[in-house]
Structure formats: structure tokens, C-alpha cells
Symmetry: C2
Subunit: 367 residues, 2 copies
């Protein structure tokens, strides 16, 4: 995809270099973000929403490339569970991303795209960038920080590393560390991208060729992990796609094949392969306990925030046991936490879909 910024996103340049966990620093970091609702006089009604791996800042506004409604427009808006009549909502593209924030497609000082010259970043680095954004926007303490999936990792990381910055922490369908299986699925995706000759060691910008085929395969593999087996069976089963009988060929005979191919193909129109490499790497590196001496409870010791953890019973990517680990750690430091496992058929993607119980939990937690 191209590197131009979506026209109606606001972009801010951080005035200080951003220190990174790798020991490097990023100069002139740009952050593209969207806001909704009005910040009140004492700045006490701000909610920061962190997006997921392939999400973006368009949480409740039309996506500039796909033309689709924001990825959480069912949740964010006037009168909605995250009520923009009441709250000032901020959502920013993570660094490493490809929707306007500094990432591998950004230019170096000579105007050349960084590509693999972009430093490997962490979830904590992404959080640091957004805390700097909050500083620039004059937002001290958040009413709440909210995120699902990778966004939940960022929310937990903010709570652990910037404990004074959020009164409430809502982490949905997430984990405090990436498991071996999580890493394995991401590694398949990275290898698929890097195996694509058009990847050219990441220097494909401006060549007219991008590793679309590899990125599509990466997306297909990941997409399976976002859905439950039962959900796939209910949605597709073994039904054939626009035909009466099997073709005895390699066309997409089954609806599930056709669906997956579409998911792969449409993804490459809105996402950059190098960003996919960098963001998956950041997620794989994520281990909140390791960052805090090996004990997860220590990540939250002394936290003044209230927490809410939500998992879904059919989520096998970040199953309920992962949320429960976080809850146990919060219990160990006597942090106020509520936890609910919701029943929904959609697997990990449930946090993005029509699950009215989630609306109620979010609305209740933000009261």
C-alpha cells in the first residue's frame, strides 16, 4: 500500500526523541490520531482506545481506504457504550503501523523509506509514544484506557508502566504475554511475507511491487485463529461456493476457502507488509511479567487503577485462562478488578462483533 496519510486524520509530531526498549531512539515521531467528543475543562473525561494488530485510529470514523465504518463504531459514538456525548475519545495509530504514524514506510532523514531500517519496537514503545501524545494534547490522567486483543496488551502495559495515567483499565480478549503457539502463528505469517520475492528485504516501497501474496497468506493463517471452530462450522460448514458439486479442481469449492481468500486479498489493500512484520514482532516480544522481574503481580504493585478484564469462551487465541492470569496477579496486589468470561460463538473476533453483553459490561465499567 502507499504511504500517504489519510487526509482527515490529525497528525502530531513529538518534539522529543522517543526512547525505545531496544536502546535506540526514534526522532521526529509522527502520530496520526482521531478524536471524538469534547475534552472537558478539567480534562477528566478522556478515554484512550488502543487498536488491535490490524486495526487503526478510525475507531468510529469511516476508513479512508476501505470506505467502511470504523472498526468499533458499534461501541463508540453518541449514546453508545463509550459515549462521545460524555467522553473525549482518542484513538491513535500505533508506531510501526501504516495509517499515518511513524513506521517502516516512513522516510529517513534523506527521504528514503526506512523499510527494515526501522527499529524493532515493543508494546511498551507503542505505549510510550501514545503517552507522549497525551502529554502533547494536555491530557494528564485518563478516565479510562480501553483495548481489545493487542489493544488490551497496550492497556495492560500502560497500567503497568504509567500507573498514574489511567483511572480505569479495560482489557478485552487479551493476554499478559504471547505464548509459544501465538509466536508460532505469527512466525508463519512473517515467513510467508519474507518468502515473497516482492518483499525484497523490505525495500519494496516505490517499486510498484509489494509482497501482497505473502501478506495475504499471513492474513489467512492469522484469520483462522480469530475465529472459533464452532463459529466456522456454523458460518460455513462444508457448504460449497456458488456450485452444486465439487469441481475436482483447485478452485475455491468450499465457502470457507472463498471467504479466506477474500480476507487475504482485501487485507493487502489496507495494510503494509513491513508493518505486519514489526507489529507481530512487538506482540511476540510482549511478556509483562518478564518486564517486571518475572512476576506478573509486580507489574501492577501499587497501581491506583480499577481494572476490568473480559474474555470470550470460544477465544482460543487468548483464552480465558490468560485473562485469569492477569486477574490473579491483580488480586495478589489487592487491585480492584472485575472479570467476566462472556459466551459468544465468534472466537477471538467476538470483541469486534455483535455481543450485547460486552456493550453492557463496557457501559457498566465506565459509569
Amino acid at each position: 500500500m502507499a504511504t500517504d496519510l489519510a487526509p482527515h486524520s490529525t497528525r502530531l509530531v513529538l518534539d522529543a526523541p522517543l526512547p525505545l526498549d531496544s536502546g535506540q531512539a526514534l526522532d521526529r515521531v509522527e502520530i496520526a490520531y482521531e478524536t471524538y467528543g469534547t475534552l472537558n475543562a478539567d480534562g477528566s473525561n478522556a478515554i484512550l482506545i488502543f487498536h488491535a494488530l490490524t486495526g487503526d485510529q478510525y475507531v468510529a470514523s469511516q476508513h479512508p481506504r476501505t470506505g467502511k465504518p470504523g472498526w468499533w463504531s458499534r461501541m463508540v459514538g453518541p449514546g453508545k457504550p463509550i459515549d462521545t456525548d460524555r467522553f473525549h475519545v482518542v484513538c491513535a495509530n500505533v508506531i510501526g503501523g501504516c495509517l499515518g504514524s511513524t513506521g517502516p514506510a516512513s522516510a529517513d532523514a534523506q527521504g528514503k523509506p526506512l523499510g527494515m531500517g526501522f527499529p524493532v519496537i515493543t508494546i511498551r514503545d507503542m505505549v510510550r509514544a501514545q503517552v507522549a501524545l497525551l502529554d502533547a494534547l494536555g491530557i494528564g490522567r485518563l478516565y479510562a484506557v480501553v483495548g481489545g486483543s493487542m489493544g488490551g496488551m497496550l492497556a495492560l502495559s500502560l497500567a503497568a508502566n504509567f500507573p498514574e495515567r489511567a483511572e480505569r483499565v479495560l482489557a478485552i480478549a487479551t493476554t499478559a504475554r504471547h505464548s509459544a503457539q501465538n509466536i508460532a502463528f505469527h512466525e508463519v505469517g512473517r515467513q510467508a511475507i519474507m518468502a515473497d520475492p516482492n518483499w525484497q528485504s523490505g525495500e519494496y516501497y516505490g517499486t510498484g511491487k509489494a509482497p501482497d501474496a505473502g501478506l495475504a497468506v499471513a492474513r489467512m493463517a492469522a484469520h483462522i485463529t480469530y475465529l472459533s471452530e464452532a463459529g466456522l462450522t456454523e458460518k460455513f460448514g462444508r457448504r460449497l461456493q456458488d456450485r452444486e458439486a465439487k469441481s475436482f479442481g483447485f478452485d475455491a469449492d468450499f465457502q470457507v476457502e472463498s471467504y479466506l481468500r477474500y480476507q487475504g486479498l482485501s487485507f493487502v489493500d489496507r495494510f503494509d507488509a513491513n508493518s505486519y512484520l514489526y507489529i507481530t514482532r512487538a506482540m511476540d516480544y510482549f511478556d509483562l511479567a518478564e518486564e517486571h522481574g518475572g512476576k506478573l503481580a509486580d507489574a501492577f504493585r501499587g497501581t491506583p487503577a480499577r481494572f476490568c478484564l473480559v474474555s470470550f469462551d470460544t477465544d482460543w487465541l487468548y483464552p480465558t485462562s490468560e485473562s485469569r492470569n492477569v486477574v490473579h496477579a491483580l488480586n495478589a496486589v489487592a487491585a480492584p478488578v472485575s472479570f467476566v468470561e462472556l459466551s459468544a460463538p465468534y472466537g477471538h473476533d467476538s470483541f469486534l462483533l455483535d455481543v450485547p453483553a460486552l456493550d453492557r459490561v463496557i457501559k457498566g465499567f465506565l459509569e
Copy 2:
């Protein structure tokens, strides 16, 4: 990989064309097979073992390419659960395969590799070919047919379609039909192969280039499904590979990454990408109920065989519920069946690994 036959496998050419479910027929089908033990005078001690997707006929003999022991040498041999002092064991490469039986690398009448000109085949077609092999070998009724994973599908298909040919049917870690999720994972693998420019629509034989990168990615994705999440965590967790700290790069920092890359790279030395396409397609087409009017029980109506089904509690590729479906169908037609779910930490791959309880079950069923 090359198309030469492993030197010490026996090869037999079927004298009649093999009819296929697609309506086509295959002429001059060659079948490469291994045998162990001696067929007794009345031909009553033969056991046919069906191999899995990436398995082969070298069930208990050294693999000619890798030099490794046979994939089930722990189970098959003198004094072993499938005792070659007592039984005459036959194991043949499936048609569509790449270890000597007719497949996409085989030559057409003009001596040109068939490639994608090879017809799409089914599990039942693979069984038909091996029943023809049994005919040619003078084996009427098998003492038992045995298979795990895809081999289990072939065993069930033989029981359903050639009910007089086996006294005992042992199906391990398998299913009577491929689910939407099973199809989805296979489709990712096929798309990875077809996205590799070296695939060249399947016409890569003799070009010196094969779609190794795509096949390796396919293998990596599939390999994750063969292991349990708990097994991966126990085996690798988040341990780093030969380093003290994360590299902040894209090397294989984690042991699980290094392991998966090795699985992908080593696989391409012993397997042909087109065979992977054809065999996964056959598995995705497999639905034993559909073949028999939509009701699984009807597939087994009137069967004279005794059945044994084995599943593993950590197998999420073909979970216990799939074996239970088969057991219920057999119960519905009053076929004698025993069923056991074994506890083993290795996921789907348990049937190939050191699970002493499986040895006992197999030995007991073959008494």
C-alpha cells in the same frame, strides 16, 4: 524434490485402469510399497497400514531420503505391538504421493510430468488403488487395517466401501469428515504454495526450481495444528534460541521459531509441493457421510468388521468429538466397536510419539 523412486521399495503396476470419483480413470497406476513379515499359507495374517498426509510406505524401514528410521518403527516390528513375527504388514505410498506411487510428478504417455494434469483424487480413490494392490498381492481379507490421521480416514473409507476386506479396523486420531477449520488450514497451505513464483502452475519439474519457500510455509502452518498449545508451551515456552537476550531483529529469537523454520526447511527435502496440493485436497473432500446419502451410520450398515477408535485429549485438529461421531454411527448399526480417548500431551502428533497406552491398545485390539 526429484521424482526418482527410492531404490528399495517394491513397485507394482496395476493392470487395469483405476476408476476415480471424479469420473476420470488413471492408466498404468504404479504403487510403491513395503512389506514386513511373512504372509501365511491361508493369507489370513495380513495387516494393511495407511500412512498420514506427509507419511510414506517406510513405516518401519529407513527413509531413503532422510536416512531416518521408519515413521512408526516403534509400533511395527518383531515383538512390537504390530508384530511382524506374526503378521504380514503392507504399507503403500498413496496415489497422489511422491515416494514412488503415481502422482503429479509421474510422467504422462509422452514422458512429460503430469503436474496439474494429474486428476484430483479422493480418499476413496487412494483406497481403491490399495485394494487393487491387495488383489495383485493375493491378499483377500485383511486381518486388520490400521491408520492414524489421514491414514485413519483411509481405514474408515475401506471399511465403508470394501466392507468384506478387513476383519478389524483401527482408526486413530482421525475424523469421518474434514471440518471448515480443517479445510481452512489446508487452504492456507495451498495458497502459500501457489503464491510461490517457483510453483509455475505446477510445471516446475526439471526446471531446477521448486516452490520450496511456499511449501515450507505450508508445512509450518500445518505443523502448528499437529501440536497442542500445552505441548508447545512445555517444549518451548518463550525460551530464547542460543542467545541470552532478544535480538530486536527478525532472526529466530525464540526456540519455537527456530523449530518451526527447521520443520519447514527439512520438509521440502522429502516432499513434493504438487503432492501436497493433491493430498490436502483429497482430505478436504473427505466426508464419509456425504458419500453414503448423508448419514454416517449408513456408511457402515451391515459391516462385518470389528472397530477400534482412538483419540487423544490434546488433539485439536481431529478432536475426540470427531471419533465419537464415528463411534455413534457404528453403535447405530450395532457394529462391534471399542473406543478410548488417551491422555497425551503432544496434540495430534501423539499417534506418532511415545504414548505407551497406545501400544497397549493396538496390541490388545490385534490379539
